[in-house]
């Protein structure tokens, strides 16, 4: 190889790569507003992003998969955990993680900041990013729940979830609201005994929880709901 050939490789390689990169960067700018739903990106969301940075959240949590890996990814935290639970985690991390092997620091997050952070996470949740992360893929939640419901038409727990209107606050599959945590996620994290106790008196098990008590249900009914949630935990495979 001559020096001239080597110089050709240098300039050819560099310029070709820069050209591809430049064209795609322009294209990204053209499509980004649509992909990220910029029309919903209001001042409250921006204030939430500033709070997210002020408290250095990103050096424990990942978001869009970037950041530190010490705590759960926040890309779909809004649909997974729900607004009320996000506020509680921000205000009372010591209570929420009491007894856990990994703790979250108390950072003195104000009421206003918590609301802004919820708005920020709700907006992030809507970013169209080719269905990442897989563990929070809506398609997976839906299939997992469909399989479950198809096989348990007689499940008393499922009937009670329906009767008590749990989906007024919680999400299950692609149904429900985003005030409390997603039911599949609770089922994946907690035992049936824990869930049954929690339903009877939420504040006794998790201080500052905003969930109302369902003390009117008898223990067998609470046990049936708990068993249903544990069986609703996401199943393997996509």
């Amino acid at each position: 190889m001559t020096l001239l050939t080597a110089k050709w490789i240098f300039w050819g390689g560099t310029l070709a790569s820069l050209a591809v990169f430049g064209v795609l960067t322009v294209d990204t700018h053209r499509q980004l507003d649509a992909l990220t739903h910029a029309e919903r990106l209001d001042e409250e969301v921006v204030a939430g992003k500033r709070a997210f940075e002020r408290h250095n959240c990103n050096d424990c949590h990942t978001i869009l998969g970037f950041g530190a890996y010490y705590a759960p990814d926040l890309t779909r935290a809004w649909t997974r955990v729900g607004e009320s639970a996000i506020r509680r985690l921000l205000h009372e991390p010591h209570a929420a993680f009491a007894g856990s092997y990994r703790l979250m620091p108390r950072q003195g997050v104000t009421q206003a900041e918590a609301q802004q952070l919820v708005a920020f996470l709700r907006w992030v949740d809507g970013i169209e990013n080719h269905d990442w992360p897989p563990q929070d893929s809506p398609g997976r939640w839906k299939r997992s729940t469909e399989r479950l419901l198809a096989s348990s038409t007689m499940s008393p727990g499922a009937a009670l979830v329906q009767q008590e209107a749990c989906l007024g606050c919680h999400a299950l599959g692609d149904a429900g609201a985003h005030v409390g945590p997603r039911l599949e996620w609770i089922g994946g994290r907690r035992s049936a005994v824990w869930i049954a106790d929690y339903i009877a008196d939420p504040q006794a098990v998790a201080p500052a929880s905003e969930m109302p008590a369902f003390a009117q249900l008898d223990p067998a009914q609470r046990g049936a709901i708990a068993a249903f949630l544990v069986s609703a935990a996401a199943e393997a495979g996509r």
Binding site: M1, T28, Y70, D73, H130, R189
Partner: protein
Amino acid sequence: MRYTTQRVAYPYFVVALLLFVLQVTLGLWLGLQYAWTAPQGLVDAFPFATARAMHTNLLVLWLLLGFMGATFYFVPEEAGRELAWPRLAWVQLALLVGTGVAALVGFVFGWTQGRPLLEIPRPLDLLVVAGALMFLANVGWTLVQARRWTAVQGSLLGGLVFLAVLYLFGIPFYRNLSLDWFYWWWVIHLWVEGAWELITAALMAFVLIKLTGVDRAVVEKWLYVELGLFLLTGVAGTGHHYYWLGAPRAWLWVGGVFSALEPLPIALMVFDTWRVAREGRAEKVPSLTWTYLVGLSVLHFVGAGLFGFAHTLPQINYYTHGSQVTVAHGHLAFFGAYVLLNLTFFYFAIPRLKGMPGGAYEERAGHWGFWLMSLGVLGMSLSFAVAGVLQTYLERVVGQPYMVAQQPVRFWMLLAVVHGVMVLAGVVVTVRHLLRLRPAGSALEVPRAA
């Protein structure tokens, strides 16, 4: 050493080495937080996030100070002229170290920009830019006055200018999180897989020419090919960070194809080192410097090339993105490429700065340092890799919630900490050895015959 102004490199090396010890100590603390639960009061006062900001910023700071010191050593010798403003180099060091210390103390009190690796608050960013401008002016003016241009110089200067310009993209506040991360990678990726590779290639070429006396024309020819391949694969390869942040789907193709080729230029670099070593002067002395050169090219290839390739394709990255797999790759790549590069250059330059005949020095403790560090980092990265694969399977494939999936991962993080202790021991030995480097034979009772 042929020019007195090259001496200004030494204080840069000293500061860089001391910061290196602090960086690794904090890393050990971070690893421990995975295996051991600190009391809530301690978590409130000194959160994981703060320690991580310090760990990563110290890494960037000491590597950059090392590069700058290396440049101040390199430029007069390559240009054949004294450095334009040696006193400005001292001012620049004081400014950058002062800014770094202010940033680290600020992190403890919650003064942060809050973006990973770019936590330095914006007012301090301006001081960093001022320091970078002093540096570029000093180096640039020296080269302009010398009027002697070489490809090695061009590669170094190009890398340094590229590095400084890219830093600017990390300074603004971005309203849109996706756009924020898009430009965040212009700093982080285009640094480590663009600008810093140019600097590495230049410094490696310089050291190889000086150590072996091989024909400069041959080295420079291959330098062009290496740089062409680095930039071809590295620039468009930025796309492998744009898969899942809300950017168009075309990045999956571009990122996947270009970054799959990224191991090529590193392989060429390994081959190049081997070829020069074989063709150059027969005697490989000092042997520790050669151990570092070979270690650098091999671990650069394994850490950056192979570990990077392992999770760069979108089909795999969908599951491994944002897991401990990234940590495994990050640690081995930074160590193999940039930590070893800096240390190689220190072992080349310090004996010459201290006027040791033939650049030879008493090397025994240095070998211990090298092997403790290298095997430690390798073991640590393999532990992270197992932790990452386990996390990927349990959390992303099976669908277990994060905290449930983390439970079995903790053992492997503990194993990483055990290897981390080995790394810290190696770093302390190495830094001590470098700072107290003695001429060859001085440790023996009877001086070796000349």
